[in-house]
Amino acid sequence: MSVTEVSNDITDAFPLRRGWQRDLIGVGIIIIAAIAGYFLFPNNLALLTRIIAILLLVLSLDLVTGYCGVATLGHAALFGAGAYAAGIAAVTFGMTEPLSMVAIGALAGAVAGLVSGVVILRGHGLAQLVLSIAVIHLFHEAANKASAYTGGSDGLSGIAPDPILGLFAFDLWGRTAYVFGILLLVIIFAVLRILVRSPFGMLCRGIRQDPVRVSAMGASVKASLIKMYVISGAVAGVGGAFNAVSTQVVGLDSLSFTNSAEALVMLVLGGTGSLYGAFVGTIVFVWFEDIVSAANPFHWLTIVGALLIAVVLFAPKGLYGTAVTLVERYGRGRK
């Protein structure tokens, strides 16, 4: 076996471009789906916009749960921090320019990510879960107490963002909010795909699979995880801020345990550790909830519960993860 053959083997066995192609296709699908959504459901843009905000939270959760293996039921703390920061900036300090609101949200989310990361990463397994629960309750209670700024349980209303770039005002149909959301989503998704393919992303995947091995390589597990938490916080913060901008209101629910748990359910439903799973899980869950709760609001909870059980039984890696496995198995079978 000559050296040239060997290197050919490597590129064949692991073609470096295939991953990038898949991402380009992914971004393409998002854009096409977004355009299709705009024209097919022109009256459902509020729902689609809401999905985008939640999706940013679930993507952010995937960074720490899917890529780093951190189990958390308190991730809404990061989302809510972004939402409240953007809302307070607009209401109290008069910063109503949407782009700067989103930037403020990202910053606040990152800070919240740092704080909760430091606390949550102290524990492992169950202890970690409990720390995350404690964190979300503390954030929630803090927002409830600071009612002078947050509006407490009445919610923070009166957020009136300016037109984007002074041109596009937020309208009743939610078109501006939708397009703005899609742009944010595409940018963040592209950045995150770059991040998870980067050496740092690879390191984090390593940490999830075997932290001891990573530290035996001389890398700091804790520092890497906290870094990832801060990034995750920024993403969730953008989601929260976008939610504040598009709905013009922030409620205590955005900092709630329920919100955190739902995000986790959506992520696991779609499949962890690929970012694509976050898309599938969020869209399926919210869309399912919307349809079922409109069709039969009195029993939808039972139906959603049955869906979750069915997913565990028949698609244990989540919808996306299981689909990928099936496709791969099929592909290999054909070879």
Binding site: F39, P42, N43, N44, L45, A46, L47, T49, R50, A53, E141, N144, S147, G151, G152, S153, D154, G155, S157, G158, A160, D171, L172, W173, G174, N243, T247, Q248, V249, V250, G251, L252, D253, S254, T258, S293, A294, P297, F298, W300, L301
Partner: protein, 390 residues
Amino acid sequence: MKKLILAAAAAVLISGAAYADVIKIGVVGPISGPFAIQGKNFKAGIDAYIATHGDKIGEDTIEILYRDVPQADPAQAKALAQELVVKEGVQYLAGFYFTPDAMAVTPLLQQANVPLVVMNAATSAIVTKSPYVVRTSFTTWQTSAPMAKIARERGIEKAITVVSDYGPGVDAENAFKSTFEKEGGSVVESIRMPLSTNDFSPVMQRVRNSGAQAVFAFLPSGPTTLGFVKAYNENGLKDAGIQFLAPGDLTQESDLPAIGDSAVGILTTFHYSLAHDSPENRAFVEAAQKAIGNPAELSFPSVGAYDGMHVIYKMIEATGGEQDAQKAVDAVKGLSWESPRGPVSIDPETRHITQNIYLREVAKRDDGTYYNKEIKTFEKQPDPGLAAAK
């Protein structure tokens, strides 16, 4: 392309207004989740109204669309309201159990040309957020303040307040405290408990040690009130003669069978008791119990919904089915009618309902059921909360 869509959407909206013989009303409330019983009450009140008044107003037929917001979630509430307006073309928004949800929707109203009839959410400020908001329920200020007068009348000098630590709880505390002190009493201590409190024994010990003659309490209606009232009895406060005072949320009829004997003797002030003695109320209760299925589940949000429907019917009559929020709201300003709860009217200034507030005592009927017995009436009470905020 974009223009085309815009035009098409506008056309749909306009045509919806001009030729509709079906007028859609979007109702947002907690239909599932921990507060599902209150959503059920909305539906019961609405169904009762339609059952007794028909679903036709002139040529037009009423259609109700329900949307579910299980817990306070303003973003979700707003998205659903937006969807109701844009996609379903509703001409009226109604319902709203939680204040933040109602607040979230107010910015939409002007652009959507849709009035909002609040059937429960009880924070005073909601009506100030948009000129298109009308409220047919009550405010916590409205139902709590009279209790302070009762307390003074009954010779109580020192009282303690115990409330859940969230918006309505704080409202109740402020309403009681300011009125009570104005009347010459003193509030020795004000305790705010987290909403998640399960064990009220420690709180009761503090109440006992405070030396107050009465405790004024506010908790959201639901499971915690049961534990609270029981703790009041079990810690010997009742025996020590410390009077229990509260707005009627604590003794809502659907919780009474569970609270049972522990509640007997509790004094509450509220805008509505199922036991209100009038022909209007008897007819209403009969229809609403039929609508809700299980009579034991009927409670106060149903009357807010029932009167809300009355207001919407009047709005539709006034506009002849045209979509004109301003005209609709103007038509009900100053409207007065005989509600199941007693005589009521819409304050033209605040668009909030002016109504009687009743002092009630929980009592036991001969058949073993419990009810809120009305023993005193404060007539034509406006909402003092808005004035207090100024």
